[in-house]
């Protein structure tokens, strides 16, 4: 507690109290403002969105943006033509990618951390810990090309390497599939750190007592450790969830077909179309301008994008609300944000 309960009536303390409150309110406002703007923009008309002086609330509220988004969802009308597939396809892609990332990633990361914390000992434990944590120190840009090679040729990045002897290593074609997005995200060093930090606080004697009682290592993990670790699982699931749902760069790199893209990438590409519509061929440019004309005529510009943005962020909000209780308990484990 920043301020003690006793002596709060003291004037200096009271001023400090209100100053702190004011500071926090400012912080919250700054955080909430983008969401507010996103929400009101989605109810503005197309003209109002594009007006030079932004308005603080919709002067002429309309649900045109939302309506058009439903067109995109269903993939009909001019707006629907902006994306090659209906929106729900991309949403479904996002769901699949997120689902597999969580389903594989959380247990694998948790097992790795548990094994490092409770099963490995001495020097080995220290080195493997440093190895896993070391992956955090790699800038993402540095791993981009190795990861690219790895996903091109899974699981051997350079299958030709041993071909001196005439043999080639087997390669699984995960390139341009969801697996190329999921597999590199399965082990998450940051979640590993969270898990490890938590498992280290579980006294060894509890594990040892369970061993003496006859529990196998997996049973001990499932029956004793797992129920104790619900908060840390909530934190890691939520961070992984928002990370997997909102990821942008990697799917853009490995996915070649629009039909396989997650929604986060497609919404961005839609925005690109708004900003920089244009084409080298006359005919195409004419079609595009015609299309945009139609869309603007239907009253949609940025308001539609805002609706998509809202749709995209809803699952993260829902996940937060579902895990809220545990997240608050686990927040001190996480130590940031």
């Amino acid at each position: 507690m920043l301020f003690p309960r006793v002596g709060r009536t003291h004037p200096a303390l009271r001023i400090a109290w209100w100053a702190t409150v004011a500071f926090l309110v400012l912080g919250i406002t700054l955080h909430l403002f983008p969401f507010y703007f996103m929400l009101i923009t989605s109810f503005k008309s197309g003209n109002e969105v594009l007006s030079q002086t932004p308005t603080w609330w919709p002067h002429d509220p309309t649900v045109a943006g939302w309506k058009l988004v439903f067109d995109i969802v269903e993939g009909n009308s001019a707006a629907g033509q902006l994306m090659s597939e209906p929106l729900w396809v991309y949403m479904w892609n996002s769901v699949q990618i997120t689902f597999w990332t969580l389903l594989l990633g959380i247990p694998i990361t948790a097992f790795a951390a548990y094994a490092n914390s409770k099963l490995q000992r001495g020097r080995m434990a220290r080195y493997s810990f440093l190895f896993f944590i070391g992956t955090l120190m790699m800038p993402a840009a540095l791993t981009l090309i190795p990861s690219y090679l790895l996903t091109r040729n899974w699981p051997f990045a350079l299958p030709q390497a041993p071909s001196v002897g005439g043999t080639e290593l087997p390669t699984f074609g995960i390139w341009n599939t969801h697996w190329a997005v999921v597999l590199p995200m399965v082990f998450n060093a940051f979640n590993y750190l969270l898990f490890k930090g938590f498992f280290d606080t579980i006294p060894d004697s509890v594990i040892q007592a369970a061993r003496v009682d006859g529990g196998s290592e997996f049973n001990i993990f499932r029956r004793i450790v797992l129920p104790m670790s619900v908060p840390v699982f909530a934190v890691t699931i939520w961070t992984s969830f928002s990370g997997a749902w909102d990821q942008f760069l990697w799917p853009l790199v490995v996915m070649q077909d629009d039909a396989k893209m997650p929604a986060s990438v497609m919404i961005y590409q839609l925005q690109e179309k708004f900003i920089q519509a244009g084409s080298a061929s006359d005919a195409e440019a004419a079609v595009q301008s015609q299309q945009l004309q139609e869309i603007l005529g239907a009253g949609m510009s940025w308001n539609g994008l805002m609706v998509l943005g809202i749709l995209q962020s809803i699952p993260v909000f829902v996940a937060f609300i579902v895990c809220r209780e545990y997240l608050l308990r686990g927040i001190k484990l996480r130590g940031l944000k």
């Binding site: 020097r123 004697s205 007592a209 369970a210 003496v212 006859g214 529990g215 029956r223 004793i224």
Partner: protein
Amino acid sequence: MARIEVEKIVKRYSDVEGVGGARSARPALDTVSLDIADGETIAIVGSSGCGKSTLLKIVAGLEQPDEGVVRFDGEDVTAVRPQARGVGMVFQDYALYPSMKGKGNLAYYFQVHGRTEEEARARAQETADRMGIGFEQLLDQSTDTLSGGQQQRVAIARCIVREPRLFLMDEPICNLDAKLRESTRVEIRKLLRKFGISTLYVTHDQQEAVFMGDRIAVMRGGRIEQIGTFDELYYSPANLFVATFIGSPPMTVLPAIASGGLLTVAGAEWPAPVPVPDGPVRIGIRPESWFTGRGDGALMTVSHIERIPTERAAFVHGQVDGVPVVVAAPLNQPDTAELRIMPDMGRVYVFAADGEQCLHTPGPLDLF
């Protein structure tokens, strides 16, 4: 129920986990051998870091020894996993499963061994009856709502519910407050008697060790210095360490010069209890072996008197020639600044002047 043999166990921790964090050249356990007869309780006593908990973990299988053999009923179990050894262990911090209620803690063993729900329940019930009044309601509470003493009772119940071959207790009551410790001590002793299961009881409190153990093993620096009954340790210690470690208040050790059957201590001359070669020696005198107020005694400067009415005795604390001395005196010992004290020469221990070798011990007291 089992006869346990621990033979020449050596255990070295790798540098990361060395005692005190530094690389320790000395092994945590150095050729430790120990036999526990069927139904016997051995109390292992020693200061912290002497390896007593490590020994317990090796017997439980939680640690692997670098050398040596552990046998249960003659069968070599050194390589057997702790899951399969069938021992019951009580930990210093109780180590209850925090996500389960008391009941769940007791039932875990039966669940992982694929026994039926009914059996687990019946056995828990049986154990609750054995554990005495008020125990049953502990089973329905979640463990973090229990007090230290209650947690400890649940931990013991979890250990006995499965009828282990061997009890291992790692300072089970040292986290309790003094009063509770006393009553729990009695309770555990009663349970051990009732079950007649071989027990290793680790403690750093020698009174607890004396109370619990049929035999007591004194450990220091990874070695067992002596194993024996309390009388053996008290009256016939193997060396100076055991002599000063056992007994509270501890034995006084005074430097002395032996010459011609006489011991010169702090200016006083006393006849040696046994023929001692001439030269410097050390003599050990227990608090109760002092006579006070005799003219030929050594001069003791008194610092304070501790009176213990229940024992009908007073301990006079002071110094002789700069060496701290404790003398047991009658309860009505008057407060004086100085005191002439003289040992009962029949009950004096003689040690070599350097080293820990014991030259003479008085042997057990002839009480009857």
